[in-house]
Symmetry: D3
Subunit: 292 residues, 6 copies
Amino acid sequence: MTAPIDPGTIPPHALRRVIDTALEEDAPWGDVTSETLIPADATATATLAAREPGVLSGGGVFVDVVHTVDPSIEVVLHVPDGASFTAGTLLATVTGNARSVLRAERVALNLVQRMSGIATATASYVAAVAGTRARIVDTRKTTPGLRAIERYAVRCGGGHNHRTSLSDAVLAKDNHLALLLAGGTAIGDAIGAARKRLGHTVHLEVEVDRLDQIEPVVAAGVDTIMLDNFTPDMLVEGIALVAGRALVEASGGVSLDTVAAIAATGVDVISVGALTHSARALDLGLDIDVAV
Amino acid sequence: MTAPIDPGTIPPHALRRVIDTALEEDAPWGDVTSETLIPADATATATLAAREPGVLSGGGVFVDVVHTVDPSIEVVLHVPDGASFTAGTLLATVTGNARSVLRAERVALNLVQRMSGIATATASYVAAVAGTRARIVDTRKTTPGLRAIERYAVRCGGGHNHRTSLSDAVLAKDNHLALLLAGGTAIGDAIGAARKRLGHTVHLEVEVDRLDQIEPVVAAGVDTIMLDNFTPDMLVEGIALVAGRALVEASGGVSLDTVAAIAATGVDVISVGALTHSARALDLGLDIDVAV
Amino acid sequence: MTAPIDPGTIPPHALRRVIDTALEEDAPWGDVTSETLIPADATATATLAAREPGVLSGGGVFVDVVHTVDPSIEVVLHVPDGASFTAGTLLATVTGNARSVLRAERVALNLVQRMSGIATATASYVAAVAGTRARIVDTRKTTPGLRAIERYAVRCGGGHNHRTSLSDAVLAKDNHLALLLAGGTAIGDAIGAARKRLGHTVHLEVEVDRLDQIEPVVAAGVDTIMLDNFTPDMLVEGIALVAGRALVEASGGVSLDTVAAIAATGVDVISVGALTHSARALDLGLDIDVAV
Amino acid sequence: MTAPIDPGTIPPHALRRVIDTALEEDAPWGDVTSETLIPADATATATLAAREPGVLSGGGVFVDVVHTVDPSIEVVLHVPDGASFTAGTLLATVTGNARSVLRAERVALNLVQRMSGIATATASYVAAVAGTRARIVDTRKTTPGLRAIERYAVRCGGGHNHRTSLSDAVLAKDNHLALLLAGGTAIGDAIGAARKRLGHTVHLEVEVDRLDQIEPVVAAGVDTIMLDNFTPDMLVEGIALVAGRALVEASGGVSLDTVAAIAATGVDVISVGALTHSARALDLGLDIDVAV
Amino acid sequence: MTAPIDPGTIPPHALRRVIDTALEEDAPWGDVTSETLIPADATATATLAAREPGVLSGGGVFVDVVHTVDPSIEVVLHVPDGASFTAGTLLATVTGNARSVLRAERVALNLVQRMSGIATATASYVAAVAGTRARIVDTRKTTPGLRAIERYAVRCGGGHNHRTSLSDAVLAKDNHLALLLAGGTAIGDAIGAARKRLGHTVHLEVEVDRLDQIEPVVAAGVDTIMLDNFTPDMLVEGIALVAGRALVEASGGVSLDTVAAIAATGVDVISVGALTHSARALDLGLDIDVAV
Amino acid sequence: MTAPIDPGTIPPHALRRVIDTALEEDAPWGDVTSETLIPADATATATLAAREPGVLSGGGVFVDVVHTVDPSIEVVLHVPDGASFTAGTLLATVTGNARSVLRAERVALNLVQRMSGIATATASYVAAVAGTRARIVDTRKTTPGLRAIERYAVRCGGGHNHRTSLSDAVLAKDNHLALLLAGGTAIGDAIGAARKRLGHTVHLEVEVDRLDQIEPVVAAGVDTIMLDNFTPDMLVEGIALVAGRALVEASGGVSLDTVAAIAATGVDVISVGALTHSARALDLGLDIDVAV
């Protein structure tokens, strides 16, 4: 069972902001091409098709963009979010006012191509760790303004989400630990004090870079320990030291080449920044037919 | 001489919206890690360094993010936008309140990494066409909400910008022409009529897919003709047909492998969607030192 | 054939902002008159009528204001945008909840009166130049916040639009040239360098004040040359100097008294700031009948 | 003593919205002219001068526009808001970055020219009624989005403001009375009931079209009675009927030709829609000098 | 007859802002509980019931919150705003998608509980002064951002509204008078000058703390005089001094224990800050039934 | 050690929105009282003093309101947030432009009085449970739009925060369980499935109403179990059943009368809706002195 991929789980206010901003950005003063060349009452049918195989994410977002431009346009989705498809698959059909379709086209494609690119990349990682206990999770290395839809795209690819932001879980990294040490605070004391101050629902995760940092951190009672840039051998050793007292997350240097070996060590969570910071847009095309 | 890469050419309202949205998205309820672990008055120095070679874009944006969080932080940029650097190059130094630096870190990095990724990719294309008359230009395949900064990043890489949006130039594509034909309008008549209706400052560009479409389009008086998915040989033939009556833009199927051959045909403009829709984030890191 | 006057060519986000701002401004705390005097369920029919002759602009905007207040109100437009009417012409009929009609009245009138005032003024200029090659265009001297709808109103009057803003075409004025000279740059060199830096779709226009400035500017390859404050005789001479190498725009000191003579010189474009900066609101009235 | 003309009495949030909207509208993607022609570090001095006589309004707004673009620019105002000036008067001096001055120029001028046009028109009306008890007031016929600054401009011309909006005073017009009558409510009863429902600070004004409507309205206890489209003779008769029991406002058909005769009747208030709905922009110019 | 309690008298823009802000605040990243536990297509019926007696305010707001989340949900209100109810009364029934109902629940309750708390408190004060001429009015001591709906809630409880804000009536308090005195201005002169500067629709109220301040203030021609922190005996004496020349408002130290005695003095208006600044949320509950 | 009470932990974007909204709401068209009565250059000193004992929250917010109105005003805080004070304590001194101080007064007071009311109420609860393991936490029953500052106020009173919103922790209530049961899903299975779908940092809490519901819920692996409306005896029994396998939260019917007995049972967390939904504004006053 994977994380929820119902499009309704994209917060509507975040999606609204993305769509409104993108549409205004793409035509601050209207679409001079269509307004001068296409009659106001011309209609068209357009088909969204895959030009390469992948996993769909953003079908509902595609619909929302089109309906923001013109609620009278009919859009039929042929493939649900989260589904795999082959090159050439017909993904959606759009019918209605031709100017409106042309106005929505680029923004709708920009979103669904990016989201499907992320879902497809995620699915590759998820497939690579199949049969292990490891889940593939995203990071905060998302596109500014698009975090909500990119996290959704990761779920469409079968991945899970890490914390949403700085606000909903503690993740103490090397920089935090260095600052603590500089202040003369022992790591165990600091974590204990944080527990007292934090709300009882706040997850507490700490990153370590070396095996000898594991024991004091785990002993201080963290919920998850992140082993950063550990080799598979070190991960095995680290997991043994943790001994089930916390979840174990592997991070750093994760690629499709390395992820299977990392997962094989028995880690619970593998975080992959590249899912969102370097995903390639999937090649989808909208071909507009002349209305009959 | 390349297009302007002065950071002041990013429209301030667009940049403000990106930064505010990203910062709020990354900490809707504050940074629980720093607030519980780092003393409110701790200070730190952090260094932004390149972990791979590339071309910088977004130094000024990086500064703006940091100063939005905390105007009292000192940021010194060591490399200007548009400059190439090697792996290991120190790009910037940040000094000030530790919580503020940690709060700004991820958003600032997400932006400068993406922008530098685009600039670096663009620079590769520009280098590949050096010595020809061709300029490398972007498309409307930008990240929703980030078009202004991504266009700037293209300029940092030595590229030029195509039209900003649907509003400031006509670009009639195959879909438009098909709709015109379906309405029984000859292309020459349509373009002539458009000229009469358009403002005199609006550039008029038309895309064609076949050699035989060139003459009527050029004869109708376009400013630029786009030859879409033409092979180099077809481009040479097409340029001869245009005969200097319009600028010639090549588009479709442009990659680092093909761009030199395309440029060698003598086209004026080569548009590359991948500059923005599939750029990889450049690997830059912010390492935080403990203040002395 | 005139520029598009389809109301759909007003960018919806700009119109939304104008209407929402105006309605909130006109009743931050509700309409105390109607709320205390008019029963909540009273209905009314109101008629929008012309109290003087003119050209309509803003019929669709009028409808949008009313429907923003109350989507259940029925509005029937009897005259399309761009049409001329005589005093006494019935322009629209509004039927529905009385409080809603009264709430929308002032804002709807303020907009359609201003827009029709601009369209009517523009139509006078257009009529005055009939039979010449000159088109009447607007300027950036628009009401702050209302540029999109005022540009549309100009089109309703048969005029054309100049560039939308500072962003979509170069227009180098005397101030720019003076600054260039002060920097020791020859005008031809400056324009040539600008061409290299600008996107290939950006129109390049330069203003000159004297006949001897024409040749270097035109030779440098501008798209349009603006002859500012030239007498008709000077315009004739200037047009001869340009010799078809660029479009010619006349500006400065244009009034209904002078525009015919200016147009008779053979200029391509005449820009008139007064179309928008000093248009008088057309006298239209909304008379509310009691519902039967 | 006139109403307050301190620029600080323009609500800052309203002014901020106007300026931000106008600046973004005037350069959604930057100023391509300056960015390609003017060096980033060029400086200039510009002078704001009157090309015709008038009354200044918007000096502070002019400064705010400039400082929104660039807080480092120095602006010196030579004439205060509310002061009269002759053609040729130097109104302000602006010194600083040349690109910034050019960027701010048009928006700043559009505002100060409109505001000064309103102030100048208002001053003409105020002068025409000098020596009478009548005050000249504005109406709700203001430019959508600009009401706050236009009301201020009226005060700069020596006028007073009517109610700000539908929210802060009752003004029952013919339409309201007709709807009341249709509902079978006697006007006196309606006004009495309204008094009971309204907050005690809400001013109650009723418009009448005929002399015989005056007694029941005044007897019902209104604060002001508006005599709409009354001739001077009828106004004299009406004022006698009111007999000091309410303020008397004249409205309808007020022009510079008629206002003196109206004022001579002894009315307290004369409202003039043309102050704001048809004011001509005053001719002010910004001449940019090259920095030394 | 009380002030209007039609929900339509809440300004829609203010209500929209409150609801959008509250919904986004309550689920910036979605509702993880429902999204993981409740099927996307589950439906439910929920009933809003009173757990204590009171006066309803916010029924329409409750509906708006629910419909903002999901327009397809059916909401039936069983009790109108302004009505009293006993503990156990069924107030509304909600039927539709279960996730949507759960998403809207808390925000809808937070609003209707607060509003009903204010209405209930107000009704207690209104009941306590029944039979006197005094009306109970609110103050500016409202919750930041909620003034429009809190003023409406006061009306639902049978109260009236004081001025909406600093903008629509003068209320000169001790601080203003002290500043005037410090400037050497006599109170009568100051009020007279203010009258000349203020719009003719602006109500003028002045607060006094002592009996000897009454005569100069009333003689200067105020509309309302506020007697602050006067005992009932002093109020009687003050009212006699005012002698019908102005409305009299009592303020300060008003509680349910003292309000009847204050009203019995014959004051016109009693302002009670506690109506809004310290109202307790009324205990209302939403019980969700499983759909059949 | 209590939760962080540094004012910097209020998210700045949330605070900015509250302050801007409140200031605009309180003077959409300026402050007519000060603008007509107080000279523009008058200065004043005002003191914020406690009229009853309490715990301060919102000192920094008070400063931010004042500085939003006028950055030139000097504000000195004499008591830090989180500190107790007696009636009569001087809390802050404000010096600067008199109009600005009067403009900021009401909004600043409305916020600091509400926040201090919450802090003071919280401190009473915290004091009542001193010496037990129980922490006092807030709920989502906050004022719409003010959650961020109300949560901060709870921390100022020594309390802790529960989850921020629906997005950052699961809290399955009776309604969720009923819907699950209706769908035929066993509670243990549902919770197990949820764990698989949720991000690893999401806290999982489940509410039960009866003792026999405890074992299946705890066995399914929740992080916290909420015992709703349990008597102290039942709580003791419930805690024994949980046997340390989860945190135990008591909720429902918590008042100052009952909280000590509840805490004495050994629960970990006690949630109190009244902290925010029914807090009384603390009586603080701003007395403005005339400047010397």
